[in-house]
């Protein structure tokens, strides 16, 4: 194991050093990885020069194939070759309504109700595991290209992803062994790449139609601040649905011509879906597309689809994107004249009738000067580079919002909204509840996400129970439930009975997600069987954490330790620093963890003082200005 270099306590930290950070666009159809090299955000290619990695995973007996090779095998091995797995992330079996048209063997997880798994020849695979396999392939690509281990990654998610889908994505990244710096909304990432590239200021709309998701985000760009004013979308609408319309049309044609039409095999379904996708892409530059193939029962498919037919087949899909767009405009309180530009993102926006619809809606020609397939990854790389600390300029700040309202179930199956959609992150809100029966000692809390009034129409995120409420008359207890949504858009909930102080704290693990234990087990399994490997890995992780903290504290002390702390406070922190430094030379990972916690604890007051000092500093400029007046 390589020894970590730690500078002597009290000495200034090591000189600035470039850390390896990447942005990953984990797409429905294709995935990409990008990084910032000599100030430029660039997509990393594989050894064949491909930028796009098809988000396709094929499971063989003892091998996992990801990307082009897997994609090539999808018709011959449909059951074990998973495409568009993103559509299943954070979803329950019941959410997948078009299962009949998807050639996989869906099963429900034996131990957790609702959790969806796919039966492959390599065993049962959850969407999180399949996504992790795509992420691992990108990790390998990036580490090969950059020549070292990644310090951190930014992974993008559709802005309209709910908590369950976000959590699933983060779990997948952890499973792939990635250090996730931030989950970033795809349209926001696109805005960063676009805005910085064009030095834009003003209000911009990002219209992002990917393979399986649709997002609309309205942002105000001003001096490096990207402020999301409103976001909306549909996390189950994308280019795949356009393919599917063609597929259904072809089936209808064939059925009407064949007297004795036999049901399609899984391979036929995959073949026709692939032909449909190719026809869609062909129609971007041509007036008609020919769909020609032979089904396994010998029937010949030979159909010609014109642009006009395609447009009318998919007209209502296009209008399904305009309804969220209108809602976002309303939520932002803007009219068409306020919009400085409309940026198209996602491969599906190549379809001419999408472009026309967007242009007609906003009464201006959309901007397409960045590759709609790459712009999200490019933006994510820029953010990763800033977060990891490679860019010292303090000139990029992303203020994102919650896409969906968060609420609690109240009497009668109604939702009490606690955090409205489009609230800027991070945000916390508290809501007081009371008991409805005399002597009631427990209370069930049901957290939901969505805009509808009835619990049944919203997505259930979590249920938990607050116990030990002291018996009181009905209505006397005061239960304060606090929702906190962090910068990743992930929720945690705390409930506290005010008169007794009984507290219940949960990080919302969505009903359809993996439990912390499951993740830990999977991670341990993937570390390899040897006990010594696990121990080495744990030591390494503990040392990396400790190292990171030591660096942070040293930098903080160097910056304003002398001005903010008394000598004895500095001495205490210094003692903890040195103790941890010594521990890091040893091999006791548990002791290093404790030392890290102790140092963290010893610096809480310092952290608070630093934060106040920086707040003072931030607003000091304004005081000077007013003095000058």
């Amino acid at each position: 194991m390589a020894l970590l270099q730690i500078s002597e306590p009290g000495m200034s930290p090591a000189p600035h050093q470039h850390k390896l950070a990447v942005g990953i666009d984990l797409g429905t159809t294709n995935s990409l990885v990008a990084t910032v090299r000599s100030g430029m955000s660039t997509v990393l290619h594989d050894e064949h020069g491909h930028a796009l990695l098809p988000s396709v995973v094929r499971y063989l007996e003892n091998e996992i194939v990801v990307g082009h090779a897997a994609q090539a095998a999808q018709s011959q091995d449909p059951v074990n070759t998973i495409v568009s797995v993103k559509r299943f992330m954070g979803r329950a079996l019941n959410d997948i309504t078009d299962r009949a048209h998807i050639p996989y063997h869906f099963v429900e997880n034996a131990s957790s109700e609702g959790i969806l798994e796919l039966k492959t020849r390599a065993g049962l695979k959850s969407p999180v595991e399949i996504s992790a396999d795509i992420l691992k392939a990108l990790k390998i690509r990036a580490e090969k290209a950059l020549g070292g281990e990644l310090t951190g990654v930014v992974v993008t998610v559709p802005a309209y992803f709910d908590d369950a889908q976000r959590q699933a994505t983060k779990d997948a990244a952890r499973l792939a062994g990635l250090n996730v710096l931030r989950l970033l909304n795809e349209p926001t990432a696109a805005a960063v790449a676009y805005g910085l590239d064009n030095a834009s200021e003003g209000v911009y709309v990002i219209y992002d139609l990917g393979g399986g998701t649709f997002d609309i985000s309205i942002l105000r760009l001003s001096k490096g601040i990207f402020e999301v004013l409103a976001t909306n979308g549909d996390s189950a609408l994308g280019g795949d649905d356009f393919d599917h319309r063609i597929y259904c049309w072809v089936l209808d044609q064939v059925r009407s011509k064949t007297a004795d039409f036999k049901p399609l095999t899984e391979a036929d379904t995959r073949l026709l879906l692939t032909k449909s996708r190719q026809a869609k892409e062909w129609l971007t530059d041509n007036h008609e597309a020919n769909i020609l193939c032979k089904l396994s029962n010998g029937a010949l498919v030979d159909e010609t689809l014109t642009v006009q037919q395609f447009v009318s087949l998919t007209e209502n899909l296009v209008s399904k994107t305009l309804s969220p767009t209108r809602k976002a405009m309303r939520d932002a309180g803007l009219s068409m004249e306020d919009i400085n530009g409309v940026v198209l993102v996602g491969g599906a926006t190549r379809m001419p009738h999408i472009r026309h619809a967007v242009q007609a809606f906003f009464k201006q020609e959309p901007l397409t000067n960045l590759d709609p397939d790459k712009v999200v990854a490019l933006g994510a790389a820029i953010q990763a580079n800033v977060l990891v600390g490679n860019r010292s300029e303090e000139d990029l700040l992303l203020l994102d919002v919650t896409p969906l309202s968060l609420g609690l179930e109240t009497m009668g199956g109604l939702v009490e909204k606690v955090i409205p959609r489009n609230s800027t992150l991070p945000i916390a809100r508290a809501q007081d509840f009371t008991t409805y029966k005399d002597g009631q000692t427990a209370m069930a809390i049901h957290v939901v996400q969505g805009e509808r009034e009835l619990v049944a129409d919203c997505r259930s995120l979590a249920r938990f129970e607050l116990r030990g409420i002291p018996p009181m008359a009905a209505g006397a207890a005061r239960i304060r439930v606090t929702f906190q949504v962090d910068a990743d858009g992930l929720l945690s909930v705390t409930a506290r009975e005010q008169t007794s102080g009984v507290e219940s704290n949960i990080t919302v693990k969505p009903s359809y997600g993996l439990s912390e234990d499951q993740i830990t087990t999977m991670l341990k399994d993937s570390f390899g069987a040897a006990e010594s490997d696990k121990a080495a890995r744990m030591l390494r992780e503990a040392t990396v954490d400790a190292q990171r903290l030591i660096e942070a504290i040293q930098a903080a002390l160097a910056e304003n330790g002398a001005t903010l702390l008394a000598q004895d406070e500095r001495d205490t922190i210094q003692a903890h620093l040195e103790a941890l430094h010594t521990l890091c030379q040893g091999t006791d990972s548990q002791a290093i963890k404790h030392g890290t916690e102790a140092l963290n604890h010893a610096t809480e007051n310092f952290a608070a003082k630093r934060m106040d000092a920086s707040v003072q500093k931030a607003l000091a400029g304004k005081n000077l200005d007013s003095l000058e007046l």
């Binding site: 309303r330 991070p426 962090d486 910068a487 952290a607 707040v615 607003l619």
Partner: protein, 170 residues
């Protein structure tokens, strides 16, 4: 408890310069946002989360006139009692009923333009009440509490109209 006006270095009064609020909010978030503390100690990350959350909350409250007025009254020790005090002057109630009827008519006729016109109408009414509350807060706080309740009423109706428009547009 941090005073929200002091947080953004604004005078504690109803009429504030929104441009100053905006710019100080951004300056503040640029310092305390969790993105600036990804590599910091967990103590600092916790601080950053709390401060950024506070800044967002304070900004929302000061940005919206109704919540700004309510907050000013709270600072003066006056609760606006919007949940349990629903007594309203007769003329205000009449105006409300007329709005509700107009909304129902527009809903039936699926007339989005009429709903948009109603929103403009309500905004004008709210503007008058906002000017009124600015004076009442210092001179007649109890009156101001009533005006906040009226503003809340209008906010709610506007919200309903917006939802209705969204439904009709679908």
């Amino acid at each position: 408890m941090q005073n929200y006006f002091a947080l953004f270095q604004l005078p504690q009064q109803f009429n504030i310069e929104l441009a100053v609020l905006d710019s100080n909010y951004r300056k503040l978030l640029a310092e305390v946002h969790p993105d600036k503390f990804v590599n910091a100690s967990s103590a600092e990350r916790m601080q950053s989360m709390q401060k950024a959350t506070l800044a967002n909350e304070a900004y929302q409250i000061l940005k919206q006139p109704t919540s700004r007025a309510r907050y000013l009254l709270q600072l003066a020790g006056i609760e606006t009692e919007e949940e349990n005090n629903t007594a309203m002057p007769a003329d205000f109630l009449m105006a409300q009923m007329e709005w509700r009827e107009a909304i129902d008519d527009a809903k039936f006729a699926k007339d989005i333009a009429a709903l948009d016109a109603l929103l403009i109408d309500m905004r004008a009414q709210a503007n008058i009440l906002q000017q009124q509350v600015a004076e009442e807060i210092t001179q007649a706080p109890t009156q101001a509490a009533m005006t906040v309740r009226k503003l809340r009423f209008i906010d709610k109706v506007s919200e309903d109209v917006n939802q209705l428009i969204a439904q009709l547009e679908d």
